[in-house]
Amino acid sequence: MTASQASLTPARPGVRDSHKVMEGDGQRLWRWLTFGPALAMMVALTVLPIANLFLTSFQNVTWADGKPTRTWAGLTHYEALFSDQLFSAGLWNTLVFAFAAVAGQMVLGFAMALAVSKITHGRVFYRAIFILPILIPGIVIGAIWKLMLNFDFGLINKALGLVGLMPHDWLGSSETALLSVIIVDIWHWTPFCFLLFLAGLETLPQDVFEAAKMDGASAWQELWYITLPLMIPTIIVTFAFRLVLAFKVFDEVYLLTSGGPGTSTEVLSFTLYQRFFTEDKAGYGSAMSVAVIFLVALLLVIALSARRRTGATS
């Protein structure tokens, strides 16, 4: 994700300059005709709505006859945000969820990619199977696991029964609800990490491994001193990519637990959804959205500076 920025910047602009064929009104026109639509869409559908959110976050909005009435609210929404227990619960749960789920996905995905990279037959077969969860709608994943984790007939409790354990209400008890959602997310997205890691492993230079083998390196030494260091760029990119998506989690939570029981699976997206659409608090919801957008931008800055630091040391 982050690397694609570099790939877009016009590389070596001087190559054609000596010919001076391309500059002119026609060229300028085509430049705008090709870039204009994307720019227009991003401005109209992302910049304007965010500006609108920012404005609304200082207002109280009530809808009547399809028309909004806006009154000035000052900073009251932002003040309320700090004492809102749902918001802090949402923030905390989202952090726990994102880091736990992504950590699990990274480790499992890496192990699976390593295993597949070491086999000679059946790579395409395993890859095809492992990709499947990535392509399935999040809401269907939710439906699948709502059935799997059902107290009465779910496969998980059936399996526990076979080994003599008591059935457990996975989604209905506050101790295991968030854990269940984390496990579902690991099931859903480990394949994505697997795919990126496998692509990374397949492009590693083979001569290093052959040299290590000549020197009698063990499999562990090979993994620890060669594979992992070489994979660090891929690992960072995958981690950042997944973390961003994990922060947006909504579909599975909506279907599996709806934030409950209590606030045990309250995540940011779901809190936002409820403020806007269940409680119709547009002003307060906007303040919350602005706070979330600010946090996201902060995260991006931290990630980019971390990347710069690792880039500088290696």
Binding site: T2, A3, S4, Q5, S7, L8, T9, P10, M22, G26, R31, T34, A38, L39, M41, M42, L45, T46, P49, I50, G66, V116, K118, I119, T120, G122, R127, A128, I129, I131, L135, I136, P137, I139, V140, G142, A143, I144, L147, M148, W187, F192, A199, A219, K248, F250, D251, Y254, L268, S269, L272, F276, F277, A282, S286, V292, I293, V296, A297, L300
Partner: protein
């Protein structure tokens, strides 16, 4: 890498277990779609498959699932066309038409920030915008929203593919007097067709799967498949077997794409992140 030094049999066993963990929930759910509610509750291992859930979901008067399916196809196809056309033009423009580098930098940084924001945060703003201009509960609103949501990824992907086209080809065409649109249409486009295919397939799948925005921007008549499936879970008495049947139907595009275009998906999913 070192398949000869160690027997890969234990690896195959581990991978087979992983594959089973991935496949089992899906197969079990599809199977639940062929059960009666009683058979599911009883937990019979062997059961006589019935069609009633599927026929209920598809043809019953009280079910809108076929309409939802049609809506998802309309929104998916049109938003994909819009998104990929705009993204291809944009990637070509930023890569090859000598924009000052700060333009590309700022624009791409913004697409990145936008990509990180939870869609729910924007859904309310889109909702009130749609309401203001009269696009609420229309396909147009949802198509625009989905195209925008997928635009960052599509631009990054197309940028990778456009960059892979050797500059020399383009320069030769320009020397022969080809104009910018001709270069794009006759030189670049034929070479990036696989990239366009990969991007289109992924964009369609992401639109098909999108739930949060579809939930807020649609009503009964325009609801898409994920919205319809979520409805099952909201019911007081959940029709589990029908939920399973509609979940199975909702997975069809993913299965088809996996069978006929796995190569493109792998290309799309990995290029966007790694390059």
């Amino acid at each position: 890498m070192n398949g000869r030094t160690r027997s890969p049999v234990p690896l195959h066993i581990v991978l087979a277990i992983c594959a089973a963990i991935v496949i089992a929930p899906i197969v079990w759910t599809v199977a639940a779609g062929f059960r009666t509610q009683i058979s599911l509750l009883m937990g019979e291992v062997l059961f006589t498959p019935v069609w009633s859930n599927f026929s209920e979901v598809l043809w019953s008067k009280t079910s809108d699932f076929l309409l939802n399916y049609r809506n998802s196809i309309i929104v998916g196809v049109l938003s994909t066309i819009l998104c990929v056309v705009v993204a291809t033009l944009c990637a070509f423009s930023l890569n090859r038409l000598r924009w000052p580098s700060w333009v590309a930098h700022i624009f791409l940084a913004w697409t990145m920030i936008f990509h990180m924001i939870p869609p729910v945060a924007l859904a309310s703003a889109w909702f009130s915008m749609a309401r203001t201009v009269g696009l609420e509960n229309t396909f147009t609103g949802l198509i625009l929203a989905h195209a925008t949501l997928n635009l960052p990824m599509a631009i990054w992907l197309m940028a990778v593919f456009v960059r892979e086209v050797p500059k020399e080809l383009e320069e030769a065409a320009i020397m022969d007097g080809a104009s910018t649109p001709r270069v794009l249409w006759h030189v670049i486009l034929p070479l990036i067709t696989p990239g366009v295919a990969a991007t289109s397939i992924l964009t369609f799948i992401f639109s098909w799967n999108e739930f949060a925005v579809a939930l807020t921007l649609t009503m009964k008549q325009t609801a898409t498949v994920p919205v319809a499936i979520a409805k099952f879970a909201q019911d007081f008495e959940i029709q589990y077997t029908q939920m399973a049947a509609s979940a199975a139907l909702a997975m069809l595009p993913a299965l088809i794409v996996l069978l006929v275009a796995q190569r493109y998906i792998v290309k799309g999913l990995t290029q966007g992140a790694v390059k």
